[in-house]
């Protein structure tokens, strides 16, 4: 038993054991049973089929014998009647009457009237429906009814090809009694067969006696279906041309007599075809309805008919079918019973094995809690008990391993945590050292730059001192220039004030002139308007007004627009004077400020000289600091190297711890698969 594949192992084993048991149970129990049943069924159905055949053949033979006997009896009765002296005499009398010279019909009727009572009695006592007396030439001398009237010739007209003519010929030539075939005579009524018997008078043939026989008696025999079940029947038929004419009423077709024709050579009703052809036989075939039937057939020589006794195959073999279905049902019941029994036994055996397998699979899956019920004390019970013992031992062992692995796991985790922590500390330490190195390096660089900058600043301070000295000299020159400018500005302002005063005087004069001109102009306009209003009388005045206006225009109209210009000029001049005053004030302030600046520059020059010396001291200090920073940096680099080596060692230790923890984890996982 291998553990893989787990999934369908159980089913295959189950199928194997249960299936094999089932198979052999069935083989042992069912094969003899089936053989026996088959043989018995075969024998029984043969017997049944034989009995059906015997019944049909015997029935056919019985019917044939009965009809043959009836026919023989009728022929014998006819022969006896024909030999009777009364009848011989009647034939003689009737023949003479018919051959008389004068009025043969009346004499024939008279003779017939003399013999009618006897002949009617004879026919009814023997059960004949018709009685004919025929002379040797074929003329009918006497008839019981009018269907075939006296005086008719048998060998001519409608009767020329009839069975009656055939029988007449046979009786006249063979001189013996015989039974003819059934045939319709006249327009209506039943078909009729004639028994023809020769009539001898003193050893000489004087006529023929024909006795008409109805089909009822024959049909009665053939319609007796006793022993033929529900569907059995008897079919009779005679050969007419190339078809068989059915001569009996049938059970399924009541008006088939002398109407139904079965053509020869078809596969329908082949029994009656063979019977009518004179063969005897038995077989299963299709009848005139197309139904499958079992039939026995033979030939009736007296009637020249074929006779077939048949029964529907379904009915005939009903017993055979019943027997077959009974056998099949019993066989199925036996198979089911045997299968159930086999299954129960197989389960009884395979059940404990399946339980053992389930437990084993559970253990394989890691679940050790499985409990086994030991219910029986045979070999399977012992197997289950052993498995239970094994499971409980395994459970104890795994439990101890699990406890140990948990403790181990805790230890490994603790070691790893410590190692990680140390590693972190070392890493931090290394980083701090590196930062310190970088910072010191930065300080060193900065110090050097500072030294350089201080040197440059010192130079600059020296130059600044020089430039300040030069600036002070320039400022002293500028001060003198500014003072000159202030004086010039003052004199310019005074001149502007004079201009402004003159402009005001001009304005006054112009204003006076303008006002006069304006008044004059206004006066002249109003005068002109008044003159216009005065109409014709004002015309002279209008001329005067115009002259006044022209005068005013000439003197001063042009100056109407001057006044404002002069005013504006005057205003501009006074504004200029004010601006000049402001400017000279500013120049004076400038002169003062320049003096102050020159003083401050002197202070700056002295300070710059002092700063120059101090810058020298600072530069020296910075240089010393830069050297110290370099030394610190080297020391810090060495410290950082040491820290990184320590961190590497800690890394190795840490990875070893991780491996240890992984190994313990694997062990724990393996053990934890088992559920206790």
């Amino acid at each position: 038993m291998t553990p893989d594949p787990k999934a369908d192992h159980g089913t295959s084993m189950r199928r194997s054991i249960a299936g094999r048991l089932l198979f052999w149970f069935l083989v042992i129990a069912l094969i003899p049973c089936a053989l026996l049943t088959a043989i018995t069924a075969r024998i029984a159905s043969s017997a049944l089929e034989k009995s059906v055949r015997d019944t049909l053949v015997q029935t056919a033979a019985g019917k044939a014998g009965e009809l043959e006997a009836y026919a023989g009896e009728r022929v014998r009765d006819g022969a006896a009647l024909a030999r009777g002296p009364t009848l011989v005499r009647a034939v003689r009398d009737l023949s003479r009457a018919a051959e008389a010279e004068d009025d043969p019909r009346a004499r024939l009727n008279a003779a017939a009237a003399a013999v009618t009572p006897y002949l009617t009695y004879a026919a009814s006592s023997f059960g004949y429906e018709q009685l004919l007396l025929i002379d040797t030439s074929g003329r009918i001398l006497f008839s019981l009814d009018d269907a075939i009237p006296p005086g008719t010739m048998v060998g001519s007209g409608g009767l020329a090809t009839s069975e009656l003519a055939v029988g007449f010929d046979r009786a006249k030539t063979l001189l013996q009694s015989d039974l003819g075939g059934f045939q319709h005579y006249g327009p209506a009524g039943q078909p009729m067969a004639f028994v023809t018997c020769p009539v001898f008078d003193e050893g000489r043939l004087t006529g023929v006696l024909a006795l008409g026989l109805g089909p009822e008696r024959v049909w009665k025999v053939l319609s007796d279906f006793s022993g033929l079940g529900e569907t059995g029947e008897v079919v009779a038929g005679q050969l007419v041309g190339d078809s068989v004419l059915v001569t009996t009423p049938l059970r399924h077709v009541s008006d088939a007599a002398f109407r139904l024709r079965i053509p020869l050579g078809t596969d329908q009703a082949s029994g009656i075809q063979q019977a009518a052809s004179g063969t005897r036989g038995y077989g299963t075939l299709r009848d005139y309805r197309g139904q499958e039937v079992v039939a026995a057939w033979s030939y009736l020589p007296s009637f020249r008919w074929g006779l077939a006794v048949k029964q529907d195959a379904a009915e005939a073999y009903r017993l055979v079918r019943f027997q077959r279905s009974a056998i099949i049902g019993l066989s199925l019941a036996t198979i089911v019973g045997v299968t159930l029994a086999a299954l129960v036994v197989a389960r009884t055996i395979s059940g404990p094995i399946r339980t053992a397998m389930a437990v084993a699979r559970q253990v394989a899956g890691g679940d050790l809690r499985a409990a086994v019920d030991v219910t029986n004390d045979d070999e399977t019970g012992a197997l289950l008990a052993a498995i239970q013992t094994m499971t409980s031992d395994l459970r104890g062992l795994i439990g101890r391993i699990q406890h140990s692995s948990v403790a181990l796991m805790g230890t490994a985790t603790a070691i790893q945590a410590t190692a990680s922590e140390q590693h972190q500390v070392m890493a931090d330490y290394g980083a701090s050292t590196s930062q310190a190195v970088a910072a010191v390096k930065q300080i060193s660089v900065t110090s050097q730059e500072l030294v350089r900058t201080m040197t440059e600043v010192n130079d600059m301070a020296g130059r600044t001192g020089t430039m300040a000295t030069e600036g002070r000299a320039d400022l002293e020159g500028m001060d003198g220039t500014m003072r000159g400018l202030a004086e010039s500005t003052s004199s310019f302002g005074a001149k502007l004030a004079t201009i402004s005063e003159r402009a005001a005087n001009i304005n006054l004069a112009v204003t006076t002139i303008t006002k006069v001109a304006d008044q004059t102009n206004l006066l002249s306009i109003n005068a002109a308007i008044e003159a216009e209003k005065a109409g014709e009388y004002g015309l002279g005045f209008l001329v005067v007004a115009r002259e006044i206006r022209r005068l005013a225009d000439q003197t001063a109209v042009a100056s109407l627009d001057i006044e404002r210009m002069v005013k504006e000029m005057q205003y501009a001049v006074s504004a200029g004077v004010m601006e000049m005053d402001k400017f000279s004030e500013q120049v004076r302030a400038g002169v003062h400020e320049i003096g102050a600046v020159a003083g401050k520059l002197g202070g700056i020059i002295e300070a710059v000289h002092g700063i120059s010396g101090r810058f020298g001291q600072v530069t020296e200090g910075m240089r010393a600091q830069s050297q110290g920073a370099d030394q610190i940096r080297e020391a810090m680099v060495r410290l950082a190297d040491g820290a990184s080596r320590t961190a590497g060692a800690l890394d190795d230790f840490n990875s070893a711890t991780v491996h240890l923890r992984e190994a313990v984890g694997d062990l724990k996982e393996e053990v934890s698969r088992f559920t206790i």
């Binding site: 303008t514 304006d518 102009n521 206004l522 306009i525 109003n526 002109a528 308007i529 216009e532 209003k533 209008l542 007004a545 115009r546 206006r549 225009d553 109209v557 109407l560 627009d561 006044e563 404002r564």
Partner: protein, 164 residues
């Protein structure tokens, strides 16, 4: 026909002299609230309060320059569609009011203009090489404003002369 000439924004204009009562120097006016900007206010003329209208602003040419020749023309006329005897008096401010010119009737250059936005524009005349616009002062102010400025009797005077 005599015309009183003046200028609006430098362009020569004129009104009929027979409608003019008198030409005055520029006088201050008392302003009126809520009136168009060309109505400068009311001023006193011989004891009556007369509306003062700035022709320059009325003809959309901005305020007039303050000059000696900027004067007030007092006119009296009968507004159209008023009673036959209802005449009103207005003061008009214009620049360069310095002359009167005679004009022949035949010298009329064009018929009166028919502008809906400026109904006061009269005919254009050729006078001594200049094209002068005659202003029809009777249509200077819109009807509603005229009715508002002269609502009652005191400002409506009976015409005494100058009617033809």
């Amino acid at each position: 026909m005599q015309l009183l000439t003046f200028s609006i924004a430098g362009e020569p204009c004129a009104i009929e002299a027979r409608l003019v009562t008198e030409v005055l120097p520029l006088v201050p006016a008392r302003p009126l609230p809520q009136v168009p900007d060309y109505v400068l206010g009311m001023f006193t003329y011989r004891g009556d309060l007369v509306p003062l209208v700035d022709l320059s602003r009325r003809m959309a040419a901005g305020p007039p320059r303050q000059r000696l020749s900027t004067r007030v023309i007092v006119v009296e006329f009968r507004p159209p569609e008023r009673l036959a005897d209802a005449a009103v008096r207005l003061g008009l401010v214009a620049e360069n009011v310095i002359g009167i010119r005679g004009a022949d009737k035949a010298a009329v250059g064009s018929p009166p203009l028919q502008l809906a936005s400026a109904p006061y524009l009269g005919p254009l005349l050729r006078l001594g090489g200049e094209t002068v616009q005659v202003i029809d002062i009777r249509r200077l102010l819109p009807d509603d404003l005229l009715a508002g400025l002269f609502p009652s009797v005191p400002s409506v005077v009976r015409p005494t002369e100058g009617r033809s």
